[in-house]
Structures are given as structure tokens and as C-alpha cells.
Subunit: 317 residues, 3 copies
Amino acid sequence: MSDIVRTFPKDLIDLDQFSPEQLTHILDTAENFKEVSEREIKKVPTLRGKLVVIFFHENSTRTRLSFEVAAKRLSADTVALSASGSSLSKGESLLDTARNIEAMHPDALVIRHGASGTPGFLGRRLSFPVLNAGDGAHAHPTQALLDMLTLREVKGRLDGLRIAIIGDIAHSRVARSNMIGLSKMGARVAVAGPPSMMAVELAETYGVEVYNRPEPAIEGADGVMMLRIQLERQTGALFPGNREYALVYGLSRERLKLAKEDAVILHPGPVNQGVELSPELYEDRRSVILPQVTNGVAVRMALLYLLIERPGQAEAA
Amino acid sequence: MSDIVRTFPKDLIDLDQFSPEQLTHILDTAENFKEVSEREIKKVPTLRGKLVVIFFHENSTRTRLSFEVAAKRLSADTVALSASGSSLSKGESLLDTARNIEAMHPDALVIRHGASGTPGFLGRRLSFPVLNAGDGAHAHPTQALLDMLTLREVKGRLDGLRIAIIGDIAHSRVARSNMIGLSKMGARVAVAGPPSMMAVELAETYGVEVYNRPEPAIEGADGVMMLRIQLERQTGALFPGNREYALVYGLSRERLKLAKEDAVILHPGPVNQGVELSPELYEDRRSVILPQVTNGVAVRMALLYLLIERPGQAEAA
Amino acid sequence: MSDIVRTFPKDLIDLDQFSPEQLTHILDTAENFKEVSEREIKKVPTLRGKLVVIFFHENSTRTRLSFEVAAKRLSADTVALSASGSSLSKGESLLDTARNIEAMHPDALVIRHGASGTPGFLGRRLSFPVLNAGDGAHAHPTQALLDMLTLREVKGRLDGLRIAIIGDIAHSRVARSNMIGLSKMGARVAVAGPPSMMAVELAETYGVEVYNRPEPAIEGADGVMMLRIQLERQTGALFPGNREYALVYGLSRERLKLAKEDAVILHPGPVNQGVELSPELYEDRRSVILPQVTNGVAVRMALLYLLIERPGQAEAA
């Protein structure tokens, strides 16, 4: 235990910062906190008097709400900051804004930003914990952790699982964080997507299987994670169209038969029903998409708690 | 009592769901909560640890603020969601967004939406209470309840009162909810407005008197409710202009003489002074427009309490 | 003491309302509250059950956040209102909106508005305290108080200090409130800026030294306050350009040598680095720009406390 807490990072930037033991510790903590959201009174005094600044520079419903709910269930106060209506529109640099926030003695900053690397850049310069809520195409560690918690819950373990991730692998922060986290925990990850959405070096960098068609990735999988086709981000023509994508890469009942019989379907949401996932599978009993959302609150409670309170660290030092 | 609570609806969609006894129970509960807002410490622990999600898909000041204040005075936590900045702008359906919220274990959803029927649609599909904060031209039940609470407070009863509602009756959710609620409580409702803003079937559907000129509606009234002319919604030409409207339908000191001497003036706000109401009447001692706002907080506290806690229901079952 | 509290104003509009003893009382109270933000649990129950309405009609990060954090650290509830999304966009007057808010029994209104005089106008008409968070070119009293707290902290006193304020003096609410507050406390203020940004009557009105070049103002100063050049507000051509401004009016290491050796640099933020302040000075040990932000929370805690609770006033009456 003492090693887990002594070397526990100051910030949550991506999962490569954590040892498998530390990841397990986060998941265990989340599992414990999950019960709070099921109580009559859904609140514990753990972070009473702490201030969490929530700064979303990109649109989001579930991640922002999830962090806010997590903070409030721990009795922390939250203040929100958005790009519009902030000094950023007066030309102040993000670092200056963050240093101004720092001067108000917050206890954590949760940030989503379109530019990869922003949370890490800020974390290295600020004295208090920074939590990455998604940065560009780089990382989305709380999403990967909630995926891992959901898989561990259903399958009883992560070690030895085979997980397929299908979609725009090259540009997905969800895919990246999951490839890192799942591999660390001993799962075998197979990724598949159109050639324009794949990068040849993935196999080497992350030790994952790389395919251009979904079938070999899904074959024998314990879990199939479908990524959102970012329709609103498609500027060029990375793929011919939604119908064609659904036909070749979308998850259908037929295609799912290749996976293990008890395989589960994951999706980070929001789902484009009929594109990456058929509507019937969205409602299928094997879908764990809504349990993922529930686990998201628990994972974020765990991380706010671990990074703000650093339990056991004084003793371990 | 046990019947009131046993059959108390899960959601607040419109007042037709409630029996007169249940409406009285809501008003009595609101009256009790009203005192909290007058205390030195304006807060009771009633909903501590409960989460109220407030989702306004249309602009609003007083209704949104009123619900937020009501929730906070009951010690509930609130998280806000707006149309912009949410996943809805990524093309997710409202139901999917709501089911994602549901997975975070909220205790209530307060929703305002431009499309009639949205709160009812969601309420039937979600496991937790949905409170309609105004949907299209359909219903605005908390507004009608605060109107009823204000009238009952001043007049001592609702049964036997004569209430005039003047304005765009056909397109007003405030008018609809009041016609239903006031009629249920034994009041006589008379509505008046330009022909383009009336519907012939109102008399039959709601059992109200229907006029095309305000005078016969106001005659002998205990209360005159002036509706807001939705200047910002006028796309076609439902009426010739503000001056003409004020002249024929606006409430003036002269026109008010037709009502009972102790008649009160109601308005859901924001008031277009000089259009539906003369500025002098806005400030008149007979105006209960600001007491309506005060009662709005009390009514919303009552509904959040009754729908989330369902007091007495365990015993009644 | 009893005089200080007996005549303590209902609202905070500008510093001319306060006697030097009252200003000292505010600064002393702020100093006491400062410690709360440094605690493990950064929260006191002082304003539990009180409601603070925060209404920013202009963009702001630090001032809005600072007030929100201040309110939460005192355990008050906050509700926020912005210009968009409010009834103001339906044509309601600001006073009507405010009177509607009043009917919900709030304990304070914090308002920033582009039109000078708005907070005073509202304060005279509302029964509860109004706090000016910046109105047009008129006043920004909490900013001046945090500047004064910072100077008093570093220098041990305000009386007898020489403070230079450089920039667009004529249009700066920060400059105005500081000229009033610092002069009241016995400091000598010298202002400098381009002729287009100065007004000849400043000397007489505020009893300050007025220069068109920064050097004589900075000479012998204990503190140099650089104002933000409001790049986003420059519609006409008040000055030729940023480079030219920096050259003639910007604070450089060289120009700072004219001040006392232990002079401090203040700036209300956000800083245009390289325009009014050289980047090296922003990071200089003499810069107290971030301590100013820290003190801003303390000053706002003090004012919310003093205006809402009015401690000692019952006894003094």
C-alpha cells in the first residue's frame, strides 16, 4: 500500500502515469464510492470545504455533469468556468487564467480542452491537482477508468480479457487511454477502423492488435467498445458516409456473434444510433453503456478523493 | 390523507393529474414552506443529499432561479444543463441525454422545453420524478399553482371565485394550466383575447367562459390575470400592434373598475408595461405580481419535497 | 466601533460612501477572513442559509469566481444570472428583474454592469444589499479594496504611501475607486497616461497628481499600478498602437528604477504582457499581482459578511 500512495501522481493526465497496482487502487476506491450514489442520502462529508474548479473549454454533458455530481456527492464546492464569458475572451493566456485561479486556493482543477497536452502543461506549473477531463486527441483517463471498472465489474477481472475497440482509433482520446490502461492491467486489446483512421505504429506503441476490418478484432472478444464517429468534427472525407460506415464497421447483431457469447458492448457516448451501433444493440441486455455512466461518477469521486486528500500519504512518507 | 398520497403522481406534468384534494395538499405544503424563506437562516435539511437536475431548453430568469432557490432552501444539490454546451448539440436525442442523467442517480429533473409534451414523454420513460417548468404551449403547472396559492392567500379560498384571464389564451401554457387548476378548485374562469388568440373549443374543453373583448370577462372578477404578449414570438401578425392591443385588451384603471372592488391583478411576468398592463397598475396596491414570485419559490419547494420524498406514502401503501 | 457600524452603508457602490475608519474596518475584517482560505477545510458557517445572487452583465473570470468562492467559503448559497438566458432578453427592465429577484428573498446581489450607475440605481430601490462588482467607467470598489489590502500588507500602512497609477485613467473604474480609497487612507496618488486617456479635472476632483508621462508619477513611488489597456474596447484610436504604448507608458525594468527600491507592482488583471507590463516584470519578485487575487477573495468575504450580517449593528442602534 505505501508504495501505491507514496508515488501516487499529483495530477491525472493519462493512465501511463500509474502502475497496475495504482490503477487497481483507483478502481477499488471507485467501487467503494459507488454505494454512496445508491443511498437515500447520496452524500458523504469527505471533501467538505474543498473547492473544485471545473473548466470545460469544449462542449460536454455527461463528463461535466459527472464531475460536478461526483464533487457534490463528496460535499466539495464547485465553481464552473467556460471559455466564453471568461478572461480568455479578453486575450489572457490559459496559464495566466490558471495561475489566477491558483491564487484563490482551489483544491483541484478539472479541465477539458481541445488542445492535446493542455492539462499536463498546466499540471506541471500549478501547485494543486489537475484532472484531465479529455484533451484533444490525447487522453481521456477518467473515461478509460470507468470502462475498466465496468468490465471488471461484469467479468470479475481485467487480466486476460480480450477487448475490441472499433472506430476512429487514430484520433480518439478514449481509444488511447483505454489501450494504455487495459494493456497495463493485462487485457489484450485489438483495434480496428478504416485505414484513414488507423496509424501503423499503434501495434508497436501500445502493444495492441491492429486491423482494418472489425471482424478479426471482435473475434473472441469479452468486450466490444464502439467509438463515436465524430460527425461534427469531420471536415475532410475520412470515410464515405454514415451508411457505408455502418455497413462495414458498425456493430450489428450479426457481427457481434463473432465475440464471446457473454461479451458486453461499451460506448463512451453520445451514441450515433444506426451508425457505429445498431439501435437494437443500444437496448440489448449485453449493452453496458448506461452502467458505464453510473461508474463514471464513482471513478471521478475516487480520483477527486485520492488526488485532493492523498489518503495514507503522510504515513507513507 | 392516505388517498392523497397513495395516488400522488410520480411526475408533475400538468394539473389535470391531480385531484382537488391533492391540489389543496400541494398548496397547504407550499404555505408551510413559505415561512422558511422569511427566516434568518433560510434553509431546512429536508432534501440534504438529493440531486436536482435543472434543464432549461428555453430562456428563463424567474422560473429557473425560483426552482434553484427552492432546491437550495431544501438543502438539495443542483446541477444545471442548458441546450447549448450539452450533448444535444452533438445530435444526441433528448431521451438519450435524459437516460444518461438517470444513470447518475438524480432525484428529480426539472425541465423547460419548447416542444409541448416533452416532460410527459420523459416522465413516462424515466424512473425518477420529472417536473414540468413549462413546455411549449401545453402546460406550466408550477405557475398555475403559484397563481392559485396567491389567490387563496388573498381571498381565503378558491371555490366560488371569478377569475378573468386576458391575452393570447390559445397559445398560453399559463392560461391552460390555470383554466384546469382553477376550475378543479371550484373557481369560475372567464377568458378573453383577440379572435386570432382564442379557440372556440376552449369553452367546452375547460368549462370556461370565452369572450373576444376583455370587459365581460373582467366584470365582477375577483382576480384579473393579464398574460404576457410574447412580442419575441410574434412571427405572423396575430394583432395589429402594441398600441392597438393596449387600447383594446390592456388592463387600465378604467377597465379594472368592472371587476370587484377588491379584485387583484396577476401576471406571470415579465410584464410588458404599457402593453398588457398600464405602468400605474403594475405599481398598484391591488397588484400581486411580486407576491406571486415569492409564492413561486414556496410552491416549487413543496413540489420538490412531495415528489422526491413522497411523505406518508410508505405508511399509506 | 459603534459609529463605524451604525453608519455602515446598506450597499457597496463606491468607496466615497465609507469613512477612513470604515475602510480600515473592512480591511481588518478581510485580513481575518484571509486565513480561512488557507485552512485544510476552507469554510466557515458564517453565512449558512443566506442566498447571494451573482449577476454579471459583462464578461469576467476573476471577479465573478472570486465572489462565488467568497460566498461559498462563508457557506452561503449562490445563484448566477447572466444577461443572455435571462428575462432581460425578453425586454424586461433591469429594475423589474431585480424586483423579481427581491421577491425571492435573497440576502445580497452582486452585480457587474456596463452602464455606470446601475448598482447605485438598484441599491436605492432594493431592500437588500447590492454589491458593485464593476459598473462601466464608474467604480470597482472591491478591486480598490483588494489593492489597498495588498499594499497595507506589504508596506504595513497606507498613510503616507506614494502610489502611481498608469494607463487609461479617464475610462478606468479601477483607477477611480483607487484614487478615492487611497486618498481617503492618506496615500498620495499620482496618475499618468496619454492625453486622450486623461481628464484635466482629475487633479481637482480627486486631489491627485496628474501627468502625461509615467516617469514623474513613478518617481519615488511605493507602488506602481499598471492598468489594463482594454484592447477589446478600443473602438476609436485613443493611442497609436501597442508597441508605441509599451514604449512610452509600459512598465519596464528601467522605468521601475524611478520608484523606491522596495516598490511593488500591481495590476488588476488580466495583464496584456508586453503592452502595459513587460513579461519579466510580471514574474518579478516585486509583482504582487497574484497576491492581489488572493486578497480579492478575502475582501469579498469581508464585504458579504459585513453587509449581510451587519455585525454589531443591533447593539449600536
